[in-house]
């Protein structure tokens, strides 16, 4: 019996100043070729109480509000790869399982005893690109929701910075491929931002404004 291969996600994160987001969009559009996909996701993180399992577990409910019909996804983000192997790869490899659920999922989890730990709203856009694996680049402004479920009153946590995530799905066996693809792709973004494992601070790219300017200008004028 083959053991079930766990679904994993390889991810790197970076930050970019809000003023350069447009330039990044131009760059990504050029690299990916497809149209951007708008993102507006209400993310609720639920933590289980003591009634389920010995240690608290976390479940994320993601509701995509972009379409007129909101669609719900439940996402289990698990532990990351640890040890020597993780030192060598430049991306974070962690367990991740996603599944579509119906709209009463929140109620269901409440009934199971999960409590809302925190919620946030991610607004931005994403691009998908196929490079050996399907890479997803998302640029979002992470927003805090001041009152319970009051999405309309969400304010960005850091107005001047947005979060960029480059991720790719993989299995336990072939994550090297995914990590390599992500690294290669990240190089293309190097003029504008530094990408690193989530949790590792990078700072902004000092020359980003120049690069952004050139990206924007090429889009508009024909100086070259």
């Amino acid at each position: 019996m083959k053991p079930k291969v766990e679904a994993k996600e390889c991810i790197v994160q970076g930050i970019i100043e809000t003023q350069h987001v447009e330039a990044l969009e131009v760059l990504l559009q050029g690299l990916c070729g497809v149209r951007k996909e708008k993102l507006k996701v209400h993310e609720l993180l639920l933590k289980s109480g003591t009634n389920i399992g010995t240690s608290p577990s976390e479940v994320r409910l993601l509701c995509s509000l972009e379409q007129p019909d909101p669609s719900w996804t439940v996402s289990l983000i698990g532990g990351a790869l640890k040890g020597a192997a993780s030192e060598q790869v430049s991306a974070l490899v962690r367990n991740r399982e996603d599944s579509k659920v119906s709209s009463n999922a929140l109620r269901f989890f409440y009934a199971l005893g999960y409590k809302l730990d925190h919620e946030l709203l991610r607004v931005g856009f994403a691009f998908h690109i196929q490079r050996a694996v399907r890479i997803t680049v998302s640029v979002t402004s992470v927003q805090r929701i001041p009152k319970l479920h009051a999405i309309d009153e969400a304010v960005p946590v850091t107005p001047g910075l947005q979060l960029v995530e480059v991720s790719a799905p993989s299995t336990s066996d072939n994550y090297h491929e995914a990590v390599a693809a992500i690294s290669a792709f990240s190089e293309f973004l190097s003029p504008l931002l530094h990408l690193s494992k989530p949790g590792v601070t990078t700072g902004v790219v000092s020359t980003a404004s120049g690069a952004a300017g050139s990206l924007i200008s090429r889009g508009i004028s024909k100086l070259t």
């Binding site: 994160q13 319970l148 009051a150 309309d152 850091t158 001047g160 989530p198 700072g203 100086l223």
Partner: protein, 549 residues
Amino acid sequence: MAANPKAAGQAHAPPPPPLPQLNPGLQQQLNLEDVRHRAQDLLNAISRIRQHLEANQNVKWQDVLGQFSVVNMGLVTIVEDIKKVSKAFVVYPKNVNQENSTKLPVMLSSKLLPEMELEETARKEQILGGLLSLPVLTQVEKLKSRIDAIGAACSCAEKTINDSRKVYELGTRHTPGSITPLDKVQVAKIEEQEKLLRAAANHGEALRLPVDQRIEPTVLPSHLESGLASVDGDTSFVEATGALYSKNSSSASPSIVVTNPGASHPVASATQPIGRSAPSPMAGTGGISTDNTTASPMQYANSPRSGPSMMNVPSPQQQQRAKVPHIPQQPQSYPSQQLRAQPTHANIQTHIPPSQEQQNQLQAKHQQERPSYQNYGSRQFLPGSAQQHGITTNTSAQGSQSKHHVSVTGNPANLYGGNTNFSSSQMFNVPSGYPRSLSQQAFPETGYNVGASGGSQSSTNMVLSQQHGGPSNFPTYSNPQFSGQSNLSSANLPLGGSSTFTGLPNHPSNFPNIVNLTQNPLHGQSNYGNAPNPTQNPNYGHPRQPPPQ
């Protein structure tokens, strides 16, 4: 051009046959050896770059382009050098063979290809258009002036471009724009913000609301509203309950309750299907009485029907009935009639005062049910139901019959322990026959509206139980359920009965309770241990005065 140096080189090496020597001056100028070396170098460089490209996957195109540009410069210089002296030479093929013969004339001819010739004439026409008539000198001058004008325009354009590059800080074509380094303060600020952002996104820092701020919002965003809305029929239930309240399940004529639990009651809310299924078994048994209780808990409960119908939580059937014209509490007319222990529902129905059209409607609706009702085994039920009717109707009123004095007082809501959310009054539809079905149902919070209806029902139950001892009206209600329920109600309508029941609705496990109710009259239910509330059911046991409202 490469052929020439090679040929010349070869010519030098072997003992020279009497080949025409190049003019020494020219030869020097040509510097063949040098050119040859350079050409060879270029060739090597190109092949090197190609190999580099083919071997490495991670080649950066910027580097490769740089290398190619170097090679390109070399080539350009060589060509320029040779051009200076190329006029002195003519290229001719050394070997003419089959392969060459067809191509050579084309290559050697100086006449342009037809297409090229056409192009050339067109261009000439365009440029020299009006000038051909003039003498050559003027032509030349005009062309010169044209060239000058174009040149001026180009330089002007280039100047503008460079200026705007400066403005946009793009730098020149070959040098990058100026880099404004971020000063330390800015860097520190950015770093701080970055930490905040990463912590928020990954761990939820700074996003958690303190407990005191976690107020339930009054208006939920739409996607949450649909998700968090109580299950099936809660919403409808609410309205149903509301309606029911108003109807006070008086409409819940026993017949209605009993009949066709599965009947397609228009009022059935979404949850009704459950209720319906529940009723059906009930129908088979004497459970109808329970329905009745739910339906018209008031009917039995002597507690006066005050205010909105206490029947708020009728069993599903009731709810369904509720949808059916809500019979407001017409208890008055009812009690008198129904309390008389009318054996048949039919009777009951006939007794419905015309004023209570709704009731009538209900009854009319349930006319059909009635027969089925009567089919229910327990005849006892009928009287009971009758009583129920009486009771329910009594709530507001007259409770002339003691038995029917529904001690449901005050707020129906209270009866239910404030839990008016009984989407399915099914709870009480659990006559003995029901337990099964009930358990099958996923009782949402309302499931056991026992609480809800409990309020009223409890009162009715109380009445019932009380009455068991009394008039035969309650024979049916000797059902354990009822007795149990009655206990509850008697104890404390708002509290005892409802409290116990209110717990129930929310748990499927409640069903077992109800089952127990049916099976273990009173005993199994600790809930029912509430002490009778004498104040609430003052009439228990005695002939009843009009229930104090």
